[in-house]
């Protein structure tokens, strides 16, 4: 089914090149680091250090990285929930960076976010119906009976019956809360979703339900999605294409299957080998990474991964490695790679 869809996508690309829904070029975000509450900034922390990516309509792009990689900040920057320091974000051909707050509001309803923690992200004093209908009111999309019907439809769409409309968040399980979070994100009819670790706080048995739901929504509404996660197996399952992020930079980009079968970047290889293995056959040979993530305040020169890389050589500290093709639609930023 996945293969079929990808083929259809490829075929349609060949005849009429589909423009990307979202096109990000050289996105950067730095935070000043202060000593004390009112101290002068003494350094800058580069959370996002030049990220470029594209998301097509109906495509799920996985963004994988460990804590401190900058994946969450990247997601927030795309929606201008956090202001970027540099770069461009084009949504449906329009540069979002140039928009005033007022102009941006019209775009807000077309881009929405699903948060990780279904316990923190819902106002406990609002009913589920009002939580789901909030965006309808804010964007002036529906009132009265139309609004109510739309809320019922949204609840249905995420697998909750209309009877949930009068309930309060504290009566819901974690999985039900996350369904409410998804219904809220869908309310304004978005074309693009950022899903930031949407299943990380859920039990395994519930996680599978929510992943299926996100796929249903993609298929039904043809939304593009940036799916941010630390969990490689989840991303492999849900994403069409995967980006691997390390210390503010994308180090590898590939179709999901290719990434897991032929990971090219040493960091991706280490990440895959570290994931606990359940199943038949032999687990991968584990590549041990030494030490911890370097500080993003003072990142290594040249390749950011070289301080922990098992294949690093003296040259790796000289220049920042560019993304190079290593296969069809498969790129990696490592000077030791040759195209396959």
């Amino acid at each position: 089914m996945n293969v079929l869809r990808t083929n259809q996508l490829a075929a349609s690309e060949a005849t009429t090149p589909l423009p990307p829904l979202l096109e990000v070029a050289n996105l950067q975000k730095s935070f000043p680091v202060r000593h004390g509450l009112l101290g002068r900034p003494t350094a800058t922390l580069k959370a996002v250090a030049g990220v470029s990516l594209q998301v097509f309509p109906g495509e799920i792009v996985g963004l994988v990285g460990e804590s401190g990689s900058g994946k969450t900040t990247t997601g927030r920057c795309l929606l201008r929930l956090v202001e970027s320091s540099a770069g461009s974000i084009k949504f449906d051909g329009v540069d979002l960076m140039g928009l005033s707050a007022r102009e941006l509001r019209r775009f807000r309803r077309r881009m929405q976010i699903i948060f990780q923690d279904p316990y923190d992200s819902l106002n406990e004093r609002m009913t589920i119906g009002d939580l789901v209908g909030e965006a309808l009111t804010i964007h002036g999309l529906a009132v009265g009976a139309v609004r109510r019907d739309r809320i019922f439809e949204l609840l249905q769409q995420v697998g909750l019956g209309s009877e949930f409309a009068d309930r309060y968040p504290h009566t819901l399980s974690g999985g039900q809360r996350q369904r409410v979070g998804i219904a809220r994100a869908l309310a304004a009819g978005p074309q693009f979703l950022v899903a930031d670790e949407p299943v990380s706080a859920l039990d395994l048995s519930v996680q599978a339900q929510i992943l299926n739901l996100l796929l249903d929504i993609r298929d039904r509404l043809n939304v593009g999605m940036l799916f941010i996660s630390h969990d490689l197996s989840v991303v492999r399952f849900i994403a069409d294409r995967v980006l691997v992020m390390y210390l503010g930079k994308i180090v590898e980009s590939a179709p999901a299957a290719a990434l897991y079968e032929r990971a090219a970047h040493p960091y991706t290889q280490a990440l895959l080998s570290a994931a606990p293995f359940v199943g038949e056959g032999q687990p991968r040979q584990r590549i041990r990474l030494l030490g911890d993530l370097p500080s993003p305040v003072d990142p290594p020169t040249g390749c950011v991964f070289r301080t922990r890389c098992p294949s690093a050589t003296a040259e790796c500290s000289a220049n920042e490695p560019p993304m190079r093709p290593v296969g069809p639609n498969h790129f990696a930023a490592c000077i030791h790679l040759t195209a396959s």
Partner: protein, 336 residues
């Protein structure tokens, strides 16, 4: 191997309750298991399974006035910890049995140096002067793979990364060479590359010291990686027990099968075989088998009869009325 006298720890019919404004909630409903020296037992469960409560009950660390052990025995080397004096428990905790938690930052005191905190644990249990205790602390840091341990002794918890802090917590836990280490999701907050280091570290130390490990987790992958034997919990009861390999290759309880099918790497086609519904609220457990409302194999009697934990051969136990009629062959080939 199966000789009961070999076990360093035997938990027998443990019952634990929490007192709430809505009356008592039964978090643990008659759990039994044992661990032998040098063995790692995985305690696998989702939220509400009672897995953390079991760990806290064993060390008598339940919140005072709210949680209480309402039945059963926890036999450590033959001594029942449920009836032991508080003074005796203080001797055992940290010396014979150590416990590490998910949140390493809250386990460490922010105003003391790393060295002082490890030395403090050692001096509580052994007659050593400050200098000797510090020397031992440095050795412990070296054992847990802390680079430059001499310098780290003088640092404070906030100066370390999450992975390094968890190493400090492990160093402190192992400083007195406990016979049993209880880990409650000790790697859950860590990145996979760091988690792999910590799992290797625990296995390494176990190999050298022969300590027993009880590893409490929600993560099937972690169980596969570290546990020799595993117990699956659901709604405060053991529902399946087996050596890890057989459990993961041929699970017998429909719940365990459902968990494995939920794993993204075993997806068939482009949807996951999710378990419907959610884990039950311990305030209102379903009648009969607690899993029956979510079970694809459930029959009429499952709603009436609580199945006993039944011996299923090869040291396996399973709590299901219909376990011999349930297909055991799961296709667990990882999706290409």
């Amino acid at each position: 191997m199966n000789d009961r006298r070999d076990a360093i720890l035997r938990v027998e019919e443990l019952h634990t309750q929490f007192l709430t404004s809505h009356g008592p909630v039964h978090a643990v409903n008659g759990v039994s298991f044992e661990i032998r020296p040098g063995e790692t037992l995985g305690l696998l469960g989702e939220s509400g399974s009672g897995k953390s409560t079991i760990g806290l009950s064993m060390l008598r660390l339940l919140p005072p006035g709210r949680g209480r052990i309402s039945g059963g025995r926890v036999l450590f080397g033959g001594e029942d910890l449920v009836t032991a004096s508080e003074k005796r428990m203080r001797r055992l905790r940290g010396r014979d049995i150590a416990m590490i938690f998910q949140e390493s930052l809250s386990a460490l005191n922010p105003v003391y140096t790393i060295g002082e905190q490890i030395a403090e644990v050692i001096r509580q249990h052994e007659r050593l002067d400050r200098r000797a205790a510090m020397k031992r602390a440095a050795e412990m840091l070296e054992m847990v793979g802390m680079p430059d341990p001499g310098r780290r002794l003088g640092e404070y918890p906030h100066e370390l990364s999450g992975g390094m802090r968890q190493r400090v917590v492990i160093a402190a836990a192992l400083a007195c060479q406990p016979k049993l280490l209880i880990g409650d999701e000790p790697t859950t907050a860590l990145d996979v590359t760091v988690q792999a280091q910590i799992l290797d570290l625990i296995a390494d130390i176990q190999h050298r010291t022969g300590m027993a490990v009880l590893f409490i987790t929600h993560d099937l992958g972690v169980v596969a990686e570290i546990a020799h034997r595993a117990i699956v919990l659901y709604a405060g009861r053991v529902v399946e027990e087996a050596d890890t390999q057989s459990l993961l290759a041929r699970p017998r309880m429909p719940y365990t099968q459902g968990l494995l099918r939920s794993l993204p790497q075993f997806a068939k086609g482009h949807r996951l075989a999710a378990i419907p519904g959610a884990v039950p609220n311990p305030r209102s457990l379903p009648t009969g088998c607690a899993f029956h409302p979510r079970c694809q194999e459930a029959k009429a009697d499952c709603a009436q009869t609580l199945p006993a934990l039944t011996e299923a051969g090869d040291g396996r136990r399973v709590r299901c009325l219909h376990w011999h009629n349930i297909a055991q062959d799961m296709d667990l080939r990882v999706r290409a």
